[in-house]
């Protein structure tokens, strides 16, 4: 802040932009951070979930009498005990709202089950072993129905229909009956001349890709503790990405007024999109209400994988792109199909737009479908749908480059979108630094260093490049700032912290108040102590919460200035503020007063508590470019990633260590899905690799050092010019590794993960 109290965003940078250590690091390394599974309340009961063994079945009857008679069992609930949430019910969340009927069914099946692991009943007992035994005593009679496990099967005209009320929307002619296809989305540009453009092109690139379901892989299984007290107030401690949206979901599911639900966000052991929906919290509240005791529910790892949570979508995408002989793109076309899992509604539009957003191209024809199958309901994972779509798109582009014998970086530069260019949906591209990123790639050793020789003839090396884009969102963030008796600000955030936001918001507040980060306290508020905020998702939190913190800081500083003026007997606007001290101008008296002194002198005059709210802040879209070197063992199909460099435009890095951490972590998640992570469903609908042994996530030995290169193109009209950070770094990874592998072995692997078997098949095909 300059001397007249006006804010010069980002001009001083004594705290913002610095690599400060996490403010909450101490409790993490000492093991004192509290996650819900760590909690213990007096008299607490333990809940367990009875889950469907069938992928598709009618629930004929549920008999809980034998289980209820077991000593130690205190309550059992089934669908009959839950309020009926009608189809079409939503809760406000973002532009489109969030399907509440879907949330209800994720938490308890009613009349039918749609995937192995869908909850059918919950038991609360005095210990976990008794609860588990009780599950075995609940008699459920099912009438199994034929199950559909893949997109291709589900789209067959003769496929069994999973939901009678799913009638495909968006078709030119409305269908005469239900199917497993929920909707068709269409993005077109160029007067329908894309087919001619492809026919006349100098070259085309095609990729017909299959992407298996994977999982967000958070190390902490879902967990919650609920307690309904003697006044009927339900408190829920939960590892959630959004305390307010969790409150909304619990309230709607139980038909309980929001004022009678308090959600307390505790530490969360990874979310990545998978802990937005509730998974058992409402059931815990119901069990607590019935028993008068606290109830704790902790999922096992097997439950998390075997239908107890929502993985990201499997996909089948066929992309065809075309260009002139000089590499100018003339057409991007694609048929995209993404897998909703067992409940409908995952429109393809956002994902399709993202897949083509970074290219300027006169003809677009993108057609997308969402399809139900008898697998767990899909939920979000870091830029939902992005890495899958980019696996297909970036391979098609790379194949085109190979046909034209054009350098893949030069090709991207030639066709890169720029600020103001028209996006696939027709709106102008907001400010981005894609060409800046591409220039940085070209100047970096990851592009200019030689690939190096392998040590043996059967080991082949290749270098791949891929782009990534994610739009992110803004939605609503709120905070309040109160000034303690010692003059130090305390920020209460309305959203949960899943990426280090307590630290970055402490930096923002410290910058605004010109204090050290140690003088600022930041906490996550529960839903009764802080205003509504949407959850930590969509790469929105640091940017929008910073705006809320700036607003609240301004208001608090203004009030402090007024009080200082009164105490110093000077006009408030004439006071000079520096680092926690107000000074009267020299011609007045030059007397100073600190924030602590102001508060001590005015404590009983009224608290200083100021709010800040940000809604619909301009977007800070996310852009990245990744480069990887791989070595493929053509005898075993094993792919070793030798080097990985991720370039990303973050607008402004509030804390470069935190930003790099997001990028490095996302890249390794992407490497997992690219090479070893894929769900393997049997024909009976059971997941065959529902453990961390067989669902193979990367270990420290599987990945190279990842270098994150931060580019900063600030976003106008956004505090500190911040962009979203957390989602786009996973988006390019599948395509990047695939392109490196293709250049190593001379053939493309069309399935993700690119397991050794699949790589070997491609090698043999190329031989």
């Amino acid at each position: 802040m300059n001397d007249t109290g006006q804010i010069d965003w980002g001009k001083r940078d004594s705290v913002v932009g610095k690599r400060l250590p996490r403010v909450d690091g101490g409790e993490r390394v000492e093991g004192t951070a509290i996650y819900p599974a760590d909690m213990s309340l007096p008299g607490m009961l333990h809940a367990k979930t009875l889950r469907s063994p069938h992928a598709h079945a009618k629930i004929v009857s549920v008999d809980t009498s034998k289980a209820a008679a077991l000593a130690g069992v205190k309550a059992i609930v089934t669908a009959a005990d839950f309020h009926d949430v009608p189809a079409g019910a939503t809760i406000p969340m973002g532009e489109a709202g969030y399907d509440m009927w879907m949330v209800a069914r994720i938490n308890i099946a009613k009349d039918k089950v749609f995937w192995v692991g869908q909850p059918v009943a919950y038991v609360a007992a005095t210990d976990v072993h008794i609860a588990e035994t009780a599950l075995g005593l609940i008699d459920v009679v099912y009438e199994p129905l034929p199950a559909v496990m893949t997109i291709d099967e589900a789209m067959q005209p003769t496929a069994p229909v999973i939901h009678d009320n799913v009638i495909t929307t968006g078709l030119d002619q409305a269908p005469h009956g239900p199917s497993n296809v929920c909707s068709r989305a269409l993005i077109e540009r160029g007067d329908g001349l894309h087919e001619i453009a492809i026919k006349n092109a100098a070259a085309t690139g095609v990729m017909d890709a299959t992407i298996d379901t994977a999982h967000q892989g958070y190390i902490e299984p879902q967990a919650a503790v609920a307690q309904v007290d003697s006044n009927g107030m339900a408190t829920v401690w939960v590892a959630t990405q959004g305390q307010h949206t969790t409150e909304l979901m619990i309230s709607r599911m139980l038909d309980r007024p929001q004022s009678r639900v308090k959600v307390v966000p505790v530490e969360i052991g990874g979310g990545f999109g998978g802990k937005i929906s509730i998974h058992g919290e409402a059931a815990c509240v119901l069990l607590s209400e019935l028993t008068g005791r606290a109830v704790k529910l902790v999922l096992t790892r097997e439950e998390v994988f075997q239908g107890g949570s929502g993985p990201p979508a499997a996909a089948r995408h066929r992309i065809e792109v075309a260009a002139d002989s000089d590499g100018t793109l003339t057409a991007i076309t694609g048929v995209y199909r993404q897998d909703c899992g067992g409940l409908p509604g995952l429109p393809a539009s956002l994902m399709m737009q993202a897949s083509a957003a970074l290219y300027q191209c006169p003809h677009l024809h993108l057609e997308g479908y969402d399809v139900v199958t008898n697998k767990p309901r899909t939920e979000a994972y870091r830029g939902p749908g992005g890495i899958q779509a980019y696996f297909a798109m970036e391979q098609a582009m790379d194949a085109l480059c190979q046909r034209l014998d054009i350098d893949p970086l030069a090709f991207r530069k030639k066709n890169a979108t720029v600020t103001g260019a028209t996006m696939p949906i027709g709106t102008p591209m907001p400010p981005i630094g894609l060409t800046t990123i591409l220039d940085a790639v070209g100047a970096h050793g990851c592009w200019t260093d030689p690939l190096g020789e392998s040590e043996a003839a059967h080991l082949k090396r290749g270098r791949g490049l891929a782009l990534g884009y994610w739009r992110g969102t803004s939605m609503t963030s709120a905070c309040h700032i109160s000034i303690s008796g010692d003059g130090r600000p305390m920020v209460t955030m309305g959203s949960a912290d899943i990426s280090g936001t307590r630290t970055t918001m402490a930096q923002v507040a410290a910058e605004q108040f010109e204090l050290s980060i140690d003088d600022v306290l930041v906490v996550m508020g529960d839903t009764k102590s802080v205003g509504y905020s949407d959850g930590a998702a969509g790469s929105r939190l640091a940017r929008t919460m910073a705006a809320a913190v700036v607003e609240a800081s301004d208001k608090a500083m203004a009030e402090l200035r007024r009080r200082a003026g009164r105490l110093l007997q000077a006009e408030p606007e004439t006071l000079i503020y520096r680092h926690g001290v107000f000074e009267a101008p020299p011609e007045n008296s030059g007397v100073t007063i600190s924030l602590a002194e102001i508060m001590q002198a005015t404590l009983t005059d009224g608290a200083i508590v100021e709010t800040g709210v940000s809604t619909k802040l301009p977007l800070g879209v996310e852009v990245g470019c990744h480069v990887a070197d791989v070595e493929v063992d053509t005898e075993t199909g094993q792919v070793t990633v030798l080097r990985y460099t991720a370039f990303q435009d973050v607008g402004r890095a509030l804390n470069p260590t935190a930003v790099e951490g997001q990028i490095e972590g996302s890249v390794v998640q992407g490497l997992g899905w690219a090479l070893t992570e894929g769900f393997d469903y049997g024909d009976d609908g059971r997941l065959r690799n529902a453990s961390m042994l067989d669902y193979r996530m990367p270990t420290a030995l599987d990945v190279p050092p990842v270098e994150a290169v931060i580019i900063e193109t600030p976003v106008p009209d956004v505090p500190y010019g911040l962009r979203g950070v957390g989602e786009v770094p996973i988006v390019p990874v599948g395509g990047c590794i695939a392109n490196a592998v293709a250049r190593a072995i001379g053939a493309r692997v069309a399935s993700m993960p690119m397991t050794p078997e699949r790589v070997l098949q491609a090698v043999k095909g190329a031989a």
Binding site: A37, L70, H129, I219, I498, G661, M697
Partner: protein, 164 residues
């Protein structure tokens, strides 16, 4: 019908203290630590030895507490993350993870710390490859391991009295 199993007396030495609790013969060391001794720093990520979140030291050796029956630990000195801070001073690995951004959600962190502590006891100046090998049984989903490896390396340097 009763699901009750006869309780059993379990004695463990944890972080230098002897504890005697009434438990279930099926209890793992992890369950005793968390549920009966209130030492919740050690986490459960998978329950069957694949994620490393429950890593503790048994006589200085890194083991998965979920794979050890509590009844087997008689005579063993168990060290958990809660036992590392001595006289208010953190272990070098703990401090380095904070300083180098090696912890994000924190759920894998106690297990990683115990594996790293065990490593540095036997190999005070490990290479990056040796560090990665030592923590290969600890799955981290947030960091990509990059800053964890740097932190452990820095902790080794700190221990040796060299500048980090």
């Amino acid at each position: 019908m009763s699901a009750a199993v006869a309780k059993t007396v379990i004695t463990c030495h944890v972080n230098g203290e002897e504890h005697t609790v009434l438990g279930d013969p099926r209890d793992t060391l992890l369950e005793v630590l968390r549920d009966r001794l209130g030492l919740t720093g050690t986490k459960e990520g998978c329950g069957n030895g694949n994620c490393g979140s429950c890593t503790v030291l048994a006589d200085g050796v890194a083991v998965c507490a979920c794979l050890v029956l509590a009844g087997e630990t008689e005579g063993m000195q168990i060290t958990t993350v809660e036992g590392l801070t001595l006289d208010g001073k953190r272990h070098a690995v703990q401090q380095a993870l904070i300083d180098h951004g090696g912890t994000q959600c924190g759920f894998c962190t106690p297990g990683i710390i115990m594996s790293a502590v065990a490593l540095l006891e036997t190999n005070p100046q490990p290479s990056d490859a040796e560090i990665r090998h030592a923590i290969a049984g600890n799955i981290c989903r947030c960091t990509g391991y990059e800053k964890i490896v740097r932190a452990i390396s820095a902790a080794a340097s700190t221990n040796a009295g060299l500048s980090a």
